[in-house]
C-alpha cells in the first residue's frame, strides 16, 4: 500500500491500516482543517502520515514546539469554527494539561478531538500513567476504540459529539490500538472549510474568575447531558450470552475478553464501553439485572471498577464486583490473552484450557536497544568522560533527558543518572547545583531543548548555577522516527521554514560560556569540554552532527573501509570497552575486527585507538 491511499482511497475501499493511519483517515473523512502534534510513540505515525498528505488533503498540519503549543493551536482553530485534531503520547498530555483544563471550560465552536496514545507496559515510555483520568479530571467526554476500523469511525462520531456539546473530546488509544493493523473500510470524505472566523466573545473564551465560575457551571451541565447520552448511545454495547456473570470492559481489553469468551464458549455477558466517560450508570444497571457478579477488565488503573462499585453502592445492589481491587486482575502493565483468561477462569469457575508451555533451559542474551553505529552521541559521551578524567573530576552527575541519548544509561557510557521528563535535565541540574558540591554535566537533545529546555536554562542563568549543559544536536527528532523541529529549515508539511538558532537562544539567556563542537572530532571536542568544565557558571556546549539514520545525509564518498591493522593491534580493548560500537567485535581468537556492513565510517575509533591500529584501506 502506498501511504497516500489513506487520502486518495474511495468510499467502501478496504485498506490494511495501522490504528494511527486509521485515525488520519478518520480525521480526513470528518473534514479536519487544522492538525497539530509533538511527536511521541505510540502516536508518532499519525504525524508522519499527515506530514506526507496534509498539503494534498487541503488541511494545515504542524509539528508544534511541544504538546501544550499543539493543543493551543488546535483549540484556537476550533474556537474559530474549524474542526481540529491534536494528538500526542500520554505524557504529552501532561505538558498540554494547563491549557487542556481551560479549553474544556471555554469549549469549542468547530469540533476538537484530542487523541492521547497511552503506553501500558511502557514499550517506549518513562511511565504507564492512565490518561482516562484526564477525562474525569478535566470533565471531558472520552471514547476508547478497540480496533483501527472503530478508531476511524469514532473520529466522525467524536467531531459530531464535540460540535453538538461544544466541548473537546478525548480519544484514548493504547499502544495495542495505535500499533494494531486491521482491515478498514473507508467512508466518504467530508469537504471542509479551510479558514474559520473567530467571533470575539470574552465571556466565553477568557476564563478569569468571574467568567470561569459560569463556565464551570455550564461544563457540569454539559457532562450531565452527556451522561444521559452515554446510557443510550449505540457506542456502548451489550453482548448478551444469557450468562449469570458479566464483564465490563473497553479498548484492547475488550478484544482479549471476546476472543476468550468465543474460544472457550464461556457463559458471560459483555458490556463494551466505547463512550466510556461520562460513565453510563443506567446502562450498567440494566446490564447487571439478573447477574450474580461483574468482572471489570480494564488496563492499568481501576477506574471503571470504581465507577461500577459506586453504582452498586449507590443502589444498594448485591452484585459482587471483581477486578483489580480484589486482586482478581493485576494492577499494573498491559493485559494479555492469558491474564484475561485467568481472570475469567477465577470468576466463572470454568476449567479453561490451560496449556503446558514450552520453554528452554538455555540462557538467552538480551538484545537491548542501543546507540547506532556511527551515532554522534556515542562520541560525545566518550569525550565527556575523557575530559572529566583529564581534569581529575569524580562523582560527576549526569542529568539526562528524553530521546535516543537516554540510551547513555548503559555501560560503558554511564551518562544517565537522573531523568524526570522532557526538559528536566536542565531544571534538575539547577537543583543538583544548589544541593551538592558535585560537578554536573547534563544532556538534552535538540528537539527536547526547543520543547522544554528554554525556561529552565533561563532559570539556571538567573539563579547563578554552575553546570555544563551539552545540547546533543543531531538535526532531527531521532527517537520518534526523524520528525523536523524548529532548528531545521523545513516545516511539518515539507515547506522551507526559518531555522531557529540554538546558539542565539542560548546567548539570549545570558549564558557566559558557549562553544559548538563536531563530536566526531575527538581532540577538539575534549578540549572544548575541558574548558566548559573549568568555567564557573552555566556552560553550554552544542554538540552538532546529524543522526546516522537521516535519509539523504551526506555520506563519505570514499569507498575505503575502516579496518583494524592486526599487526599493530595489541588487543588493549579501548575501542571495545570505551566505545562499545556495534560494528566493532572480537572473533574467537580474541582479535578485534570491524564489520564493514555496520560501520558508518565516523572515524571515532580511529582517533581513540592508543596504538593507531585502526585506519582506512581501499
Amino acid at each position: 500500500m502506498n501511504i497516500k491511499e489513506v487520502l486518495t482511497g474511495k468510499e467502501n475501499d478496504k485498506l490494511f491500516l495501522l490504528g494511527n493511519e486509521a485515525a488520519v483517515r478518520g480525521a480526513i473523512e470528518a473534514g479536519v482543517a487544522v492538525a497539530s502534534t509533538y511527536p511521541g510513540t505510540p502516536s508518532s505515525e499519525i504525524g508522519d502520515v499527515l506530514s506526507k498528505i496534509a498539503d494534498e488533503a487541503g488541511l494545515y498540519f504542524e509539528f508544534s514546539t511541544n504538546e501544550k503549543v499543539a493543543l493551543e493551536v488546535s483549540a484556537a482553530a476550533a474556537a474559530s469554527g474549524l474542526r481540529s485534531f491534536t494528538f500526542m503520547k500520554h505524557v504529552g498530555v501532561n505538558v498540554a494539561a494547563d491549557s487542556l483544563m481551560s479549553a474544556v471550560y471555554t469549549g469549542v465552536n468547530g469540533g476538537m478531538v484530542i487523541l492521547s496514545a497511552d503506553d501500558p507496559s511502557m514499550f517506549s515510555s518513562q511511565n504507564e500513567q492512565d490518561n482516562r483520568h484526564y477525562s474525569r479530571l478535566a470533565n471531558m467526554p472520552m471514547m476508547e476504540p478497540s480496533s483501527p476500523q472503530e478508531l476511524k469511525d469514532l473520529m466522525k462520531d467524536a467531531y459530531e459529539l464535540s460540535e453538538e456539546f461544544q466541548i473537546p473530546v478525548l480519544m484514548r488509544t493504547t499502544t495495542r490500538i495505535s500499533h494494531m493493523r486491521g482491515v478498514v473500510e473507508l467512508g466518504e470524505r467530508k469537504e471542509a472549510p479551510k479558514k474559520g472566523f473567530f467571533k470575539r466573545d470574552p465571556k466565553r473564551f477568557v476564563p478569569v474568575p468571574v467568567t470561569a465560575r459560569e463556565m464551570h457551571r455550564e461544563l457540569v451541565g454539559k457532562m450531565e447531558k452527556l451522561g444521559e447520552l452515554s446510557n443510550t448511545s449505540p457506542l456502548n454495547q451489550i453482548f448478551d450470552r444469557d450468562g449469570r456473570i458479566g464483564v465490563v470492559t473497553s479498548g484492547s481489553a475488550f478484544n482479549y475478553v471476546m476472543d476468550a469468551v468465543n474460544e472457550e464458549n464461556l457463559p458471560v455477558n459483555v458490556l463494551k464501553l466505547t463512550l466510556s466517560n461520562p460513565f453510563p450508570e443506567e446502562l450498567l444497571l440494566k446490564f447487571m439485572e439478573g447477574l450474580e457478579c461483574v468482572l471489570v477488565v480494564e488496563e492499568v488503573d481501576p477506574i471503571m471498577e470504581k465507577d461500577v462499585l459506586a453504582v452498586v453502592g449507590k443502589h444498594g445492589l448485591k452484585v459482587q464486583v471483581h477486578g483489580k481491587l480484589d486482586d482478581t486482575m493485576p494492577m499494573i502493565y498491559e493485559y494479555t490473552p492469558e491474564i484475561v483468561l485467568e481472570g475469567l477462569r477465577k470468576v466463572t469457575g470454568v476449567d479453561v484450557n490451560i496449556l503446558e508451555l514450552e520453554s528452554t533451559e538455555l540462557s538467552l542474551p538480551n538484545r537491548p536497544p542501543t546507540l547506532c553505529p556511527g551515532c554522534p552521541h556515542r562520541a560525545a559521551y566518550h569525550s565527556v568522560r575523557r575530559a572529566a578524567k583529564n581534569l581529575g573530576i569524580e562523582n560527576i552527575i549526569h542529568p539526562t533527558d528524553i530521546g535516543c541519548y537516554t540510551l547513555g544509561i548503559d555501560s560503558p557510557y554511564d551518562a544517565a543518572d537522573y531523568l524526570l521528563s522532557m526538559g528536566s535535565s536542565i531544571g534538575t541540574s539547577c537543583g543538583f547545583s544548589k544541593a551538592t558540591d558535585q560537578r554536573i554535566v547534563s544532556f538534552i537533545g535538540d528537539s527536547t531543548f526547543f520543547h522544554a529546555g528554554i525556561p529552565p536554562l533561563i532559570n539556571a542563568v538567573h539563579n547563578k548555577n554552575r553546570f555544563v549543559l551539552v545540547i546533543l544536536d543531531n538535526r532531527t527528532t531521532a527517537m520518534t522516527g526523524g520528525q523536523p523541529h524548529p532548528g531545521l529549515p523545513v516545516d511539518g508539511m515539507g515547506y522551507e521554514a526559518p531555522e531557529v538558532s540554538i546558539e542565539n537562544l542560548v546567548r539570549a539567556t545570558g549564558v557566559g560560556f558557549l562553544e559548538t563542537i563536531n563530536p566526531l572530532n575527538i581532540k577538539k571536542s575534549q578540549e572544548a569540554l575541558e574548558r566548559a568544565l573549568e568555567y564557573d557558571g552555566v556552560a553550554v556546549v552544542v554538540s552538532r552532527y546529524p543522526c546516522m539514520l537521516i535519509k539523504n545525509r551526506k555520506r563519505p564518498r570514499s569507498d575505503a573501509i575502516i579496518h583494524v591493522k592486526q599487526d599493530k593491534c595489541d588487543r588493549c580493548s579501548v575501542c571495545l570497552e570505551e566505545l562499545a560500537c556495534p560494528a566493532i567485535y572480537t572473533s574467537e581468537d580474541e582479535s578485534v575486527h570491524i564489520d564493514p556492513m555496520l560501520c558508518r565510517k565516523c572515524n571515532v575509533c580511529v582517533q581513540i585507538c592508543p596504538e593507531r591500529a585502526i585506519g582506512a584501506k581501499k
Binding site: 517506549s124 484492547s252 538467552l364 560503558p412 522516527g481
Partner: protein
C-alpha cells in the same frame, strides 16, 4: 474461519513489519479477516522486533501463549525467545545466520551455538525449516531481500492459509518496482527450500 496465528520475530531493520503487511494485505484481498500487531519505537535501535498476525475470525491480534501455528524467525536467537508462543505442532521457518546483540560484550550470557538453537527448536516445536536466508538473499542480488526469502519459506509451509499467487500479488503492490526482480528471486528460493518433495 478459525484463526491461523503467525508470530514473526527478529531484529530491527530486517524488514519484519513490511513482510507482515504483505501477508495481511494478501488476506484482505481474498476477503479473509486479518488483524496484526506491531511494536515500534525503541525496538528500532538494534532491539527485538516482533509482529503477531491472526488470519481468520479474531478480535485481538495478540497470540495466546502456546497457540501459534507458524513462527517466522528472522534470526536464530529470536526464534528461541519466541518459544513460549509455540507448541509441538507449530511450523517454524528460521534464518540460521545470527545477528549478535551489540551488548554481548557487556553481557554475562554468551550467544548459544546456532546448532544448539536448532536442536532445541526441533525438540520443542513441529517441523523446522532452517535456511541461511542471509546468503540466499545476497545471492538473489541484495541482502535486504532477506525478508522475501523468509516470506517465500512461509508461503510454502503446509497449512499456510494464503495461496502463493495472493502473496506474490501483495508483494508486487508493496515493494518498489525496481526491487521486484531481486525480491521475486529471493521469494522463490525461500519457497523452494521450504516446499516438500
Amino acid at each position: 474461519m478459525k484463526p491461523y496465528s503467525i508470530y514473526i520475530s527478529g531484529v530491527g531493520g530486517q524488514g519484519i513489519i513490511k513482510t507482515s503487511t504483505v501477508i495481511g494485505e494478501a488476506a484482505m484481498r481474498s476477503n479473509i479477516p486479518v488483524v496484526m500487531s506491531e511494536i515500534h519505537g525503541m525496538a528500532q535501535r538494534g532491539g527485538v522486533v516482533s509482529t503477531e498476525l491472526k488470519i481468520g475470525d479474531a478480535y485481538s491480534p495478540i497470540i495466546k501463549e502456546g497457540t501459534a501455528d507458524l513462527l517466522l524467525a528472522f534470526e536464530p536467537l529470536e526464534a528461541l525467545r519466541a518459544l513460549p508462543k509455540l507448541n509441538r505442532k507449530t511450523s517454524v521457518v528460521v534464518n540460521t545466520s545470527p545477528i549478535y546483540p551489540s551488548s554481548l560484550r557487556q553481557s554475562d550470557v554468551p550467544y548459544p551455538d546456532v546448532d544448539v538453537i536448532m536442536d532445541e527448536l526441533r525438540s520443542k516445536t513441529g517441523e523446522v525449516f532452517a535456511m541461511d536466508a542471509e546468503t540466499i538473499a545476497k545471492n538473489a542480488g541484495h541482502i535486504l531481500s532477506l525478508n522475501m526469502v523468509m516470506l517465500g519459506g512461509a508461503a510454502a509451509v503446509e497449512g499456510f492459509p494464503l495461496s502463493k499467487k495472493l502473496i506474490l500479488d501483495s508483494m508486487r503492490s508493496n515493494l518498489p518496482e525496481k526491487s521486484i526482480p531481486i525480491n521475486m528471486k529471493a521469494f522463490e528460493e525461500g519457497f523452494g527450500i521450504c516446499s516438500k518433495g
